[in-house]
């Protein structure tokens, strides 16, 4: 199963609404809390505390003995080794936390990175083939509710065909591309709500599929290398600025982690 397919959408179901900003804040705060609890559980809190105390002591020495260069130099040396010790005791919990974090980021990007199409908005569907000859033998079978609003554009130089589609209403559509005797489906989501989106279906390219696609790989013998739709990018509106959801996510989850560290008394 591709990472983050709709079957795993239980995570966002309770708040699957169009309030993306609320969802983002809730998610970021929970992430901060989980990160800090996990860190507390996975780390040797005494060792972290000791490493930080030693660092503090050396910093104090630098301030107190400014007139004694030898002491100051020695303190700087100990700050360096103390930093190394601190990183060493933090490494294990961080390394463990980062794996689910990455998975969570990839998963959430399917919801937060792009906007679903709107009804009556042009949808660009692209198919990239292996050979230019195949361009003349490719066609679409559209579900009810989706129509072609312009003739297909055949681009021989890129072995590509582009269709412009339009949806009459909301829905989770599957467009079927007919090529080389095969029928290849591509998900197209038209919605006003947060939705699980997959921009492409790829043949091969495991890593790219893991990162960018949330649909099954195209069959190895398919004449089509790529099926893609370009969902509009989602900007998080912060009044005077707009930004990517990741920026908000990192800032809020970090602030949340610091707050919970303070409340729960966990050393990081």
């Amino acid at each position: 199963m591709a990472l983050g397919t709709p079957t795993s959408s239980f995570l966002v179901l309770p708040i699957a609404s169009n309030h993306a900003l609320i969802f983002l804040f809730v998610l970021s705060i929970i992430t901060g809390l989980v990160m800090i609890v996990l860190f507390g559980y996975l780390s040797d809190q005494n060792a972290v505390r000791r490493a930080k105390d030693q660092l503090r002591a050396q910093l104090l020495a630098v301030r107190l003995f400014q007139d004694q260069p030898q002491v100051v130099l020695r303190a700087y040396g100990r700050i360096l080794t103390g930093t190394g010790r601190y990183l060493r005791v933090s490494f294990k919990p961080l390394a463990i936390i980062i794996v689910p974090m990455l998975a969570l980021l990839i998963y959430c990007d399917r919801y937060m990175g792009s906007l679903p199409f709107q009804a009556n908005q042009p949808i660009l569907l692209t198919a990239r083939l292996d050979k230019p000859e195949a361009l003349d033998n490719i066609s679409l079978r559209l579900p009810q509710g989706l129509t072609e609003s312009a003739p297909a554009v055949h681009i021989a130089e890129d072995n590509e065909v582009a269709w412009r589609l339009v949806a009459s209403g909301e829905g989770n559509y599957t467009v079927n591309v007919l090529a080389g005797g095969q029928e290849l489906g591509k998900q197209v989501v038209v919605s006003n709500n947060l939705a699980h989106l997959s921009e492409c279906r790829l043949r091969g390219h495991l890593w790219q599929r893991l990162l960018e696609c949330a649909e099954p790989a195209l069959p190895a013998n398919a004449p089509v290398r790529l099926l893609a739709v370009a969902y509009p990018a989602r900007d998080i509106d912060l009044g005077p600025w707009t930004t990517n959801w990741l920026v908000v996510y990192f800032v809020v989850s970090l602030a949340s982690a610091l707050l919970f560290k303070f409340i729960l008394g966990i050393e990081i």
């Binding site: 042009p122 660009l124 692209t126 312009a150 003739p151 297909a152 554009v153 055949h154 681009i155 021989a156 130089e157 890129d158 582009a162 269709w163 412009r164 370009a230 990018a233 509106d237 009044g239 005077p240 707009t242």
Partner: protein, 671 residues
């Protein structure tokens, strides 16, 4: 929690509560019930309005005229939009607000410039190789003077919203909600520069009025080209910032895919794209300017023809100020999406240059009107208190372009096109009637409604080349050996032998000693005698084609203007007869051989004439007592509605409470 933590929490709550309170609507604001709605309709002509009302095509205007009042509104001298709207905004005449024409000249250099605003680059720069680091920011300056009525209202706590007001770019500092209108430049700094890409060898490439024609090649069914944006002031010599794009055309079908930055879209032949946001990089990764534009795929086969609109300032992320508060343009973008921000959005030049045909131009003009309606529909329902002003441009620009298709006497009349588009202007009038209908439904007894236009309209059949007349009559001299028909901007003029010159659409200046760079006419008696002579002679000029006088009014600005800036004005405002206007080339200081020319351009209606021939309209749901209200009465009327006395220098009176003495512009030499 410790005491310090509780203190911190309390401080945060207090801060949040204070912030919330300060944002509450109506705080420290006007608490009365009275409301004033003003629909400012550029170029609505009283004669056309009466005709359409009589024909039953404008039922809402007819109802308003019947139940309230309908008057002709005396326009400005000269009746040009920047001048007229400045009269309305300030309640001053051009002597008070300093806007006399679309085009002014600097007497120290004799260079023409756009009258309402000036955009200046940073004054000091650091040069590092091919890079230029500006020390300080550039500035955009509004050249209109005088206090706008909305500032006076806001000073009295009356909440005011003013949308698309002409002659207000950059928007003057204000607590009111204002959005700039006519006078706002595109990202290239002019009134609007379109780009047209074609592989047609018969089309001459290069700059045309209002745009640029760029030759391209279709190779392997693909076109690669650049979209030109603003000048990059971070680079030596300020080359334009460019964004590459490609167009992949289908070998058979009339359709193409356009790719620009991270955007891809498909257009069929004859289709317009939505707005496309484009980032022009100035310093890679560090500094960029955002613009928006629309694509029109005019033709795919056999010739490739692609029009791209002028790149507008992005309302979501404006590179130059568009509104007060600065966040307003972004708020509007949130509500209605992207919209034209350039002051004159209808691309009349593309029609004049033949880049768009009448049908294509009308598509674009209708989209502009629809966008203005969308903004109106988003904002008007929110209006509950104070003053709401909204400006509509479509009757003016389409009056200019479509007159020839509804007037069989026009030299540019084409019966085939007239059959297709002869009622285009009428349909724009009807759209405005629809807006009025929307407003009328909301009116209550506490609301005053003013519907007004800055001037009316007239045909533009023949042009009169004022500078050619001055040359022919010995008031202006060219340098020895200069070719009369070469050069613009007075480049061939011998100022040491020139006593008068025409600049702008209605301006006639003396070459005055002490004012003009190389002035020779002595102020005082000599200047007055020359003005007398010029006034009398110009009023007697007849069109040899039909014996009709070309000019019906010569207004001496020293007599008709009041205020500190009257001394910067042209010495005469030339009032052309109905059907006449300043020639196309005379406006910027060129000298065509012919004194009179037929106007065969698409720009076929105009109003830059004798002010008395092109009055605007004024309608209200209340009884208008003034028999001849003028634009300068509007600001006093707005203030009087809230019991506020005239601002400094305002010369008019509320149209609902006329002064005892009648007003007249007696200082004009009229026929």
């Amino acid at each position: 929690m410790s005491k310090s933590k509780w203190l911190l929490v309390a401080a945060v709550i207090c801060f949040a509560a204070g912030l919330l309170y300060s944002q509450l609507p109506g705080r420290n604001r006007y608490r009365g019930d009275h409301k004033l709605i003003i629909l400012g309709i550029d170029g609505m002509d009283p004669q056309l309005l009466e005709r359409f009302m009589a024909e039953g095509k404008m039922p809402n205007f007819a109802a308003l005229a019947r139940q309230g009042s309908f008057r002709r509104l005396t326009t400005s001298t000269p009746p040009q939009s920047p001048v007229a709207w400045s009269n309305l905004i300030t309640g001053l005449d051009p002597g008070g607000h300093g806007i006399f024409d679309f085009i002014h000249r600097d007497p120290a250099t004799m260079e023409p410039y756009l009258s309402t605003s000036r955009v200046e680059p940073p004054k000091h720069n650091l040069h590092l190789g091919s890079w230029v680091i500006p020390l300080g920011g550039g500035t955009a300056e509004l050249l209109r003077h005088g206090a706008p009525f909305w500032n006076i209202l806001e000073d009295h706590g009356i909440p005011t919203s003013v949308f698309h007001m002409p002659a207000n770019f950059p928007p003057s500092a204000s607590k009111a909600r204002t959005l700039a209108g006519m006078g706002t430049p595109d990202l290239r700094g002019g009134y609007g520069t379109f780009s047209f890409y074609t592989d047609d060898p018969t089309v001459q490439a290069g700059e045309v009025e209002g745009g640029e024609i760029i030759p391209v090649m279709v190779q392997n069914w693909r076109v690669s080209a650049n979209l030109e944006g603003p000048k990059n002031s971070f680079r030596k010599d300020w080359p334009p910032a460019l964004v590459p794009f490609t167009v992949s055309v289908d070998p058979v079908s009339p359709v193409a895919k356009i790719s620009i930055q991270d955007r891809e879209f498909v257009l069929r032949e004859g289709e317009w794209s939505d707005w496309v946001q484009v980032d022009f990089s100035l310093i890679p990764g560090l500094e960029s300017v955002s613009g928006i534009c629309r694509f029109f795929l005019k033709q795919v086969h056999p010739r490739f023809q692609l029009y791209i609109s002028p790149v507008n300032i992005d309302p979501a992320n404006p590179a130059l100020p568009l509104s007060t508060p600065a966040s307003l343009s972004r708020d509007l973008w949130r509500q209605v999406g992207d919209f034209y921000t350039q002051g004159i959005a209808e691309d009349t030049k593309a029609l004049s240059d033949g880049v768009l045909d009448d049908g294509e131009y009308l598509q674009q003009a209708r989209e502009v009107a629809a966008e203005q309606r969308r903004i109106f529909d988003a904002e008007f329902p929110k209006f509950h208190r104070g003053v709401f002003f909204f400006y509509f441009s479509s009757l003016d620009l389409n009056g200019h372009m479509m007159w020839r298709l509804m007037d069989s006497h026009h030299p540019a009349y084409d019966p085939t096109l007239a059959a297709q588009y002869g009622n285009a202007l009428e349909s724009f009038y009807q759209q405005i009637d629809g807006v009025l209908g929307e407003v009328l439904r909301t009116l209550d007894s506490n609301t005053t409604l003013l519907v007004l236009s800055d001037h009316g309209f007239a045909p533009f059949y023949r042009s009169f080349n004022l500078n050619t007349w001055l040359l022919d009559n010995g008031y202006l001299a060219l340098k020895p050996g200069a070719n009369q028909e070469e050069g613009q901007y007075f480049t061939n003029v011998d100022w040491s032998r020139t006593r008068a010159y025409g600049l702008g659409l209605n301006g006639l200046y003396l070459n005055l000693k002490g004012r003009e760079k190389d002035g020779i006419v002595q102020p005082g008696r000599e200047a007055n005698a020359l003005l007398d002579e010029l006034g009398a002679k110009l009023l007697s000029v007849r069109d040899p084609a039909n014996g009709v006088p070309a000019i019906t009014r010569m207004s001496r600005t020293a007599e008709v203007y009041h205020g500190a800036y009257a001394k910067d004005a042209p010495d005469f405002i030339v009032g052309y007869n109905r059907g006449y206007r300043a020639g196309w080339k005379t406006i910027l200081g060129a000298f065509p051989r012919q004194l009179f020319e037929d106007n065969t351009y698409a720009w076929s209606g105009d109003h830059c004439m004798d002010y008395s021939l092109v009055p605007g309209v004024l309608l209200s749901n209340r009884k208008i007592d003034a028999q001849s209200p003028a634009l300068t009465d509007i600001a006093p009327t707005i203030l009087a509605e809230f019991g506020i006395a005239n601002g400094h220098g305002m010369m008019g009176h509320s149209v609902f409470q006329p002064p005892a003495a009648s007003r007249s512009q007696t200082a004009s030499l009229g026929r």
